[in-house]
Amino acid sequence: MPKRTLDPLPSAAFQILLALAQEDLHGYGIMRQVAEQTGNRMHLGPGTLYSSIQTLLEHKLIEEVDGPESEPADARRRRHYRLTSAGRKLARGEAEHLAETLRTARARKIFRGDYV
C-alpha cells in the first residue's frame, strides 16, 4: 500500500506525535491525550486515529511497543505506540514552524493583546 504523504504534516498526525512525546500510549490513550492537549477541540475518531497511526508507522515516526508493566494485563495486551527519534525530530520541526508562524502573526499585530 502506498504511503500517505506527510508534507504538510496533517494536524491529527502532529497531535498524535505530541501526545506520544511524553509517554507510550495505546489508541484510546492517544485519543484522550489529544483531546486534553487541544482543549477538547479535537476528538480523534477510530478512522482518523488509526489511519494516522498507520501512516506514522509506515514513515517510522512512531513504533509499536509492548504495554508498560505498570498497566493491567488487559490494557497491556493492547497495541502501544512510541515516538521514534525521527518522529520527535519531525514534531520539533513542525513546532518550530508553528512558532515561527506565531512570531510572524504577532509581528503583524493580528492579536488583540500581548497575552499570547
Binding site: 500500500m1 502506498p2 500517505r4 495505546h26 489508541g27 484510546y28 485519543m31 476528538h43 480523534l44 475518531g45 477510530p46 478512522g47 482518523t48 486515529l49 488509526y50 489511519s51 498507520q54 501512516t55 493492547r78 497495541r79
Partner: protein, 482 residues
Amino acid sequence: MSEKIYAFLFRLFPARFRAAWHDEALHLFCDRARHERGFIKSLLLWIDLLADIAVTLPRIYSSEDPSLLPAATANSSGVPSFYMLQRQPIQPRSYAMGTILSVVAIAVVIVLLNHGGHVPILHPSAAEDAGGFTVDPWATGPASGDGDAETIAIGRGTAGAAQSATGANPGATVVFKDRPRLPLFDAAEKHRVIEGIIANLNQHYPDAGVARTIAGTLRLHEGLGYYRSIGDPAEFAELVTREIRESSHDLHFEVVYSRDVLREDPAPAVPVEDAIYRQVLRRANCNFEKVDFLPHNVGYLKLDSFPPPDVCGDTAIAAMKTVSRADALIIDLRDNSGGQPEMVMFLAGWLFDEPAFFWNPRENSAANIWTHSPMAGSGLAGKPVYILTSPRTWSAAEHFSYDLKMLHRATLVGETTGGATDVGVFHRIDDHFGIGLRESRVPNPYPVPDWAVHGVSPDVAVPASHALDSAEMLAVQRIARR
C-alpha cells in the same frame, strides 16, 4: 448492541485497513462508550463516529489505491467511472449475490412490463377525436369549412370508398364506445403490419409484379431497421405509405393508422338512421345549394356534394332540367367535398349526347364507367361548361372535374383541387392499421395522372374567390362567339 453496530459500520473500510485495525478500533469504541455515558454523550459519540467514518472513508480508500485520488478530482464532468476498491480477488459469494440480484432485478422489470399497464401511444389526433366514436379512416375528407364532419362514413369497397365525410352518405353510422386501450407499438406490431400489407397486395392488387416489388422493398427496409426508431404509429403509417408509393409509382396507396379500433365489418345501414339521413338530405335540397341564371343566360349550379341518386335523383333531375335552358353552364364545386360516384356518373350523363367513357380508378367494372347519355330532357350536350374548383374540391368532385377536363368537355376555373387519396378500396389489417389500394384493372387512358395526392389543376388558374367572375366572363365571351 452498539458495539455490533459499530463493528458492522467498520466493514465499510477497506479490507486491508479492517484487518489491521478492526480489534483496535473496537477497543477504542468500547472505551469511549464506557466513559461517555448518558443520552447526550452517547448521541455526541455516535455523531462523532459517523462524521469520522464519512470523512476518513474516501481518504483511506484513495490511499489504498492512489489512482483513485486523481480520478476523484479529475472526473468532474459527471461521467461515471468505476474503480476496484478491493485488491483481493472477488469471492464466489459475491458472484452468487450479484447473480441473484440481477435475476431479481430482471424479474421485477418483466413483471412490471407485463402487469404494470401499457404505455399509451399518444398521438396529436388524440385531442381532436376526443369524442370517442369509431371512425372509418378511409372516409377521410378535406378540412371543410362548415366543419360538419361528425358523421363518418363506414363502408367497404367501391361504394364505401366514395363516401363523403360531409354527411352525404345513407349508410353513415356513428358508434360511440369507450376509448380502447392502445397496444404497445413494438417491432412485432410493425412486422405484423408489414406482412398484412404484403398479404393484401398479393390478394387484391391487380399488378402482381408491382406487388412483389413493394413486398421486397418493405421487407428489405424492415430488415435494415428503417422502422426501428419510429415510436409513433401514425408516423410509421406515413413512412410506409411514402415507400409504397415510391416503389410502385402508384399514388393510390395509403396505409392508415386509426387510434380507435377499426371494425372488422361495416355496420349495416339501420333503417331508422337511413330514414333520418334521407330526411336531412332532402331538407338540405340534397346539397344542390343554388340553381340560378346569370346574365346572358348563363346557368349556375352550386353543388356541395354528390348525394346518392336513389335519394336525390328527383332533385338532381329538376336542377339539371332547369339549367338545360341555359346557353352555358357554370358548375360550382368549390365547396364540394365529394360523395357518390353514381351521382357523378348521373350528372355527367346530362352533358353528353352519347355515352361517354368516364374513367374511375375505383371502378373495376367496365360497364359502370360509361355515362347513360343522352339523358331525357337534357339540352346541355354541346353547350359550354365551366367548373369552379378550389382546394376544398374533394374526392367525387375531383372525379367529376378530372374526367370532364380529360374529355375536354369542361373548362376548369379556379385553383387545384384537394387531391383526395380515397380512390381505392380499404382493407383492414388489424385493429389499428389498414391499407387502401386501387383494385381497378381498367387502366387510366389519359396521360395525366388522376387527382390522387396532387389534385386536378385548373385550365384557368385564378384565386377560387374570383373563379365565378372569371368563368362568367369566359362563358359570356363564348356565347357571343357562337
